[in-house]
């Protein structure tokens, strides 16, 4: 075998192996999607989105309260987490040299690695205990603690990717530093920053562990943000460990809804912020 043939062989082999692995990674998503459709598709009807859960043993009912509850909790988390993460990210990217920013960056990375249930314990101690009440608020706080470090780091990374020459261009025209950040740097990075935020929100929307002992759960509509509130991930957990076949189907259906919401958020992030929607950077 000549060296030329050998090289072609190795080349072909490596191509096949890497392509197969890439395909396997993608297949998992479609596998899960198919699995959820197969098991939960039949429970996914109009009632699922509009009805309250039925008592155990009764067929039918839905998860309307959990869908709204999840939305409330995620919204609270976003209202707390996005501004802190975004502004903190700007600080790290634009003023981030020295000991304190290093400390912040390191802490954010550590927080990113902390198991989400620990965030739940934290929110339990900080919010549930003082108020003597499980609540959507507590769930939102727990999720925001997960959201902040990811937002801070993705914001920082995308701002850093804005070329120095754009900043210099603005400064050379007499713009102040904050003006150049607000009018040039952030707009140039906004696609990436917003995508990061949406992905962060999609991630916390699927968290169940931190909600178990913060927002807890509720078979009915929650009376207010300071009362126990149902959420889709916790509902999946509760229904999946129950002994009722109908609840199992609804748990699958809830999983399907969560996955579709995430896909929509992900694809939405890409479409809305696609090149052409704004100026290319």
């Amino acid at each position: 075998m000549t060296q030329h043939h050998w090289r072609k062989l190795v080349n072909g082999l490596m191509f096949s192996v890497t392509a197969a692995c890439a395909l396997a990674a993608v297949c998992v998503l479609f596998w899960i999607l198919g699995f959820l459709l197969w098991n939960g598709g039949s429970a996914l009807n109009f009632d699922f989105f509009t009805q309250l859960p039925k008592p155990p043993g009764e067929l039918g009912g839905g998860m309307a309260n959990a869908i709204i509850g999840s939305a409330q909790i995620v919204l609270i988390a976003a209202v707390i987490g996005i501004p802190i993460g975004f502004l903190g990210g700007i600080y790290l990217a634009e003023f981030g040299t020295g000991a304190f920013p290093f400390f912040v960056r390191y802490t954010a990375d550590l927080l990113n690695g902390v198991p989400s249930i620990v965030m739940g314990i934290f929110a339990y101690a900080m919010v549930v205990r003082p108020l003597h009440q499980f609540s959507a608020l507590a769930g939102g706080v727990a999720l925001s603690v997960i959201l902040i470090p990811t937002t801070i780091r993705t914001t920082e990374q995308f701002l850093r990717a804005v070329p120095l020459m754009l900043r210099e261009g603005a400064l050379a025209l007499g713009a102040s530093k904050w003006k150049s950040i607000a009018t040039i740097v952030v707009p140039a990075a906004i696609r990436g920053v917003a995508t990061g935020m949406i992905l962060g929100i999609a991630r916390i929307a699927g968290e169940s562990a931190p909600l178990l002992f913060t927002s807890f759960g509720n078979q009915y509509w929650s009376r207010s943000l300071s009362h126990p509130t149902a959420s889709l991930p916790v509902m999946i957990f509760t229904y999946a460990i129950s002994p009722y076949a109908d609840w199992h189907r609804q748990a699958w259906a809830a999983g399907l809804v969560l996955l579709v919401v995430m896909l929509v958020l992900n694809i939405g992030a890409r479409v809305v912020l696609a090149p052409g929607a704004s100026h290319r950077t």
């Binding site: 020459m165 210099e168 025209l173 007499g174 704004s278 100026h279």
Partner: protein
């Protein structure tokens, strides 16, 4: 030779560079300028007087400090941590180092090596400096944008697509857009840091032509790697080597009868 004749014919009555012998105060006067990046000294005792309404070229091999020198004039070096300057820079007799930096940069505009239009429309690029300076009136902005684009010889090429992205035009046009952007705030001095090094010869010729007309209203300082460019467009030329200003004189003098051996070696291509 023809190109050398052009500036002597077209140029204003020549002040003797580096002096005020004829009573014309220099636009920029730099004295005993030393510049440091941390412990590294990038400029050594530079003395230079830049005359108004002339094109001054700074030449020299890479790393000789000519770009650093340019960035002292509008204090762009301040974005670099550990950068430190000593000595005096006077703009019309005013201390540029003590001046409000935004004020200084409005008076001393800059064009960079690579075209760096903002990711905005052509109109918004030119209007940016005005908006930063709190010009909001639509009529004022429209006028200023048109005027600046005309001064930068770009108006005819972009007047129908002012609201298209600045990335939709060619590299040469982008660089002229950056010049228009700098001109919009009506600077007294325009600094150009190798403005045509990323452009083809035709785009380069357009920029040189443009600079030639601009000097009527503006003092131009240009850093260039291209000695032919300096010879073509500059009234005065300074030669930097290893952080020192070796020689500064009328361009014709520098290229024909340089006083220093180092200048002659560089001009004739013996190094650099």
């Amino acid at each position: 030779m023809g190109t050398l004749e052009r500036f002597t014919l077209a140029g204003p009555p020549a002040a003797i560079p580096g002096s005020t012998a004829r009573g014309i105060a220099p636009k920029l006067k730099i004295s005993r300028l030393n510049f440091f990046y941390g412990a590294y000294q990038a400029l050594h005792d530079v003395d230079l007087a830049i005359a108004a309404n002339r094109i001054t070229a700074l030449i020299g091999p890479s790393g000789c400090g000519k770009s650093t020198f340019l960035r002292v004039l509008n204090r762009m070096y301040e974005t670099v941590r550990g950068a430190r300057v000593s000595g005096e820079v006077l703009l019309d007799g005013e201390d540029a180092v003590a001046m409000d930096v935004a004020q200084l940069r409005r008076r001393v505009g800059m064009v960079f090596q690579k075209p760096n239009p903002f990711p905005k429309s052509i109109f918004e690029n030119v209007a940016y400096g005005l908006r930063v300076n709190r010009t909001r009136a639509k009529v004022r902005l429209n006028e200023a944008v048109e005027h600046s684009l005309k001064r930068a010889a770009l108006w005819d090429e972009v007047k129908d697509k002012l609201h298209k992205s600045a990335y939709a035009i060619s590299g040469g046009q982008q660089q002229r857009l950056c010049i228009a952007r700098a001109l919009a705030v009506d600077p007294e001095v325009l600094l150009l840091d190798e403005p045509s090094s990323a452009l083809d010869p035709i785009a380069t010729a357009k920029i040189e032509e443009l600079l030639f007309h601009l000097k009527d209203n503006c003092t131009i300082v240009i850093v260039t790697h291209n000695m032919q460019q300096a010879a073509r467009i500059a009234d005065d030329t300074g030669f930097f080597l290893l952080g020192k200003l070796i020689e500064f004189d009328k361009t014709e003098k520098i290229f024909k009868t340089p006083a220093k051996k180092e200048t002659e070696d560089y001009i004739t291509g013996r190094f650099g």
